[in-house]
């Protein structure tokens, strides 16, 4: 077939496809339910796209002019981008992710999670106990200014706990910016063969252990515990999960198993991204609790402990049972 005949025969189809892309391709939601009489129906588009691809292949094979091939290529590329575009996020999907997929993802990486827990909790508890026995060691771990700042934050006489300035809202923003960034970096640094994540976990464990141990030993323990027990369930768990996400990524670089290293990493990245979404959510909740509940000085110890106990139970139940029997479980 000559090029002219080819163009005359299919020109109309191409124009219709082009117009459809322009008028209805942009926003699926806004055009849903409406009808454009002079355009082909939405349901015919995949089929028309495949026809177009076949015509493009024919045009290439027969050596038609580069302009025609270029035009068809452009058209099919636009069609490709539309048909394979990312579906818009849905709220129901987000809820399902939070209650089922995220706990499942955490449990699917159980080994990495337990390792991260050990890397974080062992130095924390170890340093805490050590400082009860040898209080002077704190000067090896924290600088004098840090110690003074900590003692000021948890002064039993202060009317606000756990901060030296700022109100609830300002601190909420601060915790979001600070804590979530740390959580996300903990995961990302796992790409350095896991070393980055290990260091972050150890460092955090040691620092938190040193602060808690020192304050406990110096007699500031009561306000300190009253401040931290509320948000600890979400914050500490989130740090461990972010660490686990980083460790599994690093492990895939070191031991890719039966996959190519790059494929193993891509798989690990996908798992890690899902875990990070959950971690960001947990740290958001933790920031909220920390800003608006933990800082209330008049709530007595037993009140804080009760709430903390409930939250710990909820977090553990959520991560342990969440998503059982759902369609995504394997």
């Amino acid at each position: 077939m000559k090029q002219e005949q080819f163009v005359t025969r299919y020109q109309h189809e191409w124009q219709q496809f082009e117009q459809w892309l322009q008028r209805r391709g942009g926003h699926a939601r806004s055009v849903r339910g409406t009808v454009d009489a002079d355009l082909p129906g939405d349901e015919t588009i995949p089929q028309r796209y495949r026809r177009l691809c076949q015509q493009l292949a024919l045009a290439r094979h027969r050596g038609y002019s580069p302009q025609l091939v270029e035009r068809l290529q452009q058209l099919s590329q636009n069609g490709h981008n539309l048909l394979y575009r990312t579906p818009p996020p849905r709220w129901s999907r987000a809820v399902e992710f939070l209650f089922a997929d995220f706990p499942l993802a955490v449990r699917s990486q159980a080994g990495a999670m337990w390792t991260a827990l050990a890397l974080f909790a062992v130095p924390l508890v170890g340093i805490f106990v050590l400082l009860q026995l040898k209080p002077d060691l704190v000067h090896m771990l924290l600088s004098t200014t840090q110690i003074a700042q900590m003692e000021k934050m948890y002064d039993p006489a202060a009317d606000h706990l756990g901060r030296d300035s700022g109100t609830d809202w300002a601190m909420f923003g601060h915790y979001i910016m600070n804590n979530i960034s740390i959580g996300l970096r903990t995961f990302a640094s796992g790409l350095l063969a896991g070393i980055g994540t290990v260091l972050v976990l150890l460092f955090n464990g040691i620092t938190i252990g040193a602060v808690a141990g020192h304050l406990q030993q110096a007699g500031f323990g009561e306000p300190f515990w009253r401040f931290v027990v509320g948000h600890a369930p979400f914050e500490l768990t989130a740090i461990v999960i972010a660490g686990g996400a980083g460790l599994q990524l690093g492990l895939r670089l070191l031991a890719p198993g039966r996959m190519r290293r790059i494929d193993a990493l891509i798989e690990g990245g996908r798992v890690g991204a899902r875990l990070c979404l959950g971690v960001a959510f947990m740290l958001l909740v933790a920031a909220f609790i920390e800003a608006f509940w933990s800082s209330i000085a008049w709530v007595p110890m037993w009140g804080k402990l009760t709430v903390s106990g409930i939250l710990w139970t909820l977090v553990i139940l959520w991560l342990w049972r969440g998503g059982r029997g759902s369609a995504h479980a394997h």
Binding site: P66, G173, S181
Partner: protein, 231 residues
């Protein structure tokens, strides 16, 4: 072009499920760094503009400001790359982020490639990312490798070259696609060259135009007109 031997280039060719080859011209570190710089300025600009408004709201505004800072830092590239395929900086530079197979970028890859900036930015000034970019045949940084994504040039479609002369002349023999491209490119670019150089180039194709010198140039223009469908 499929005709002839493959040229040495940074094109990544992928085949869509429908069997159509897509050519993805991978972008190198320099345009990407410029795009990143523009993004940085945009983000700082937004924060600068918003700060007096928010700080006027007192402590509540300060909280909002920090929340906005978080969104600008982490969410800005992720959301824009998923919704539009490009951040503002990439748009200015004509870049686009796509998946390895040429499909639009999904949420998880976008999250991965932007979270892993942390590693690419080590130890300073994206040094790790630059090394990875220079080692990879498609200029991907570590975040791109793990996300399975690719930054490509997506220039606006080139306008058809304007007609040089009115005459139209059919080539005496059918031309191969590569030859057609060469002829059209000649008609597009020759006017920017000096007269003697135009003649010199046109003389290479004197077998086709059956003329030499200025007459050959005009004949080639006329044939380009015919090829471009101005008949």
């Amino acid at each position: 072009m499929p005709a002839g031997a493959p040229m040495l280039d940074t094109y990544r060719e992928v085949i869509t499920p429908e069997g159509v080859p897509l050519q993805l011209p991978a972008a190198g570190p320099v345009p990407r760094a410029l795009a990143w710089l523009i993004d940085l300025l945009v983000r700082f600009g937004v924060l600068m503009v918003m700060s007096p408004v928010l700080l006027a709201l007192g402590d509540f505004g300060q909280g909002l400001y920090l929340g906005l800072m978080f969104l600008m830092f982490w969410a800005y590239p992720i959301v824009l790359e998923v919704w539009f395929g490009q951040t503002l900086g990439k748009r200015v530079l004509g870049l686009r982020v796509v998946a390895n197979d040429g499909a639009p970028l999904g949420w998880m890859p976008a999250i991965v490639r932007n979270l892993l900036r942390t590693v690419d930015a080590l130890p300073f000034g994206y040094a790790v990312g630059l090394i990875s970019c220079l080692c990879d045949p498609y200029g991907r940084r570590l975040g791109d490798l793990v996300a399975g994504s690719l930054v490509v040039h997506a220039p606006p479609r080139a306008a058809e070259p304007p007609a040089r002369i009115e005459t139209v002349l059919a080539p005496p023999v059918p031309l191969q696609p590569g030859e057609q491209i060469a002829l059209i490119a000649f008609a597009d670019r020759a006017p920017a060259l000096s007269g003697p150089r135009q003649n010199e180039l046109a003389d290479i194709a004197s077998g086709l135009s059956q003329a030499s010198g200025a007459a050959g140039v005009l004949r080639l223009y006329a044939m380009a007109n015919w090829l471009l469908g101005r008949r």
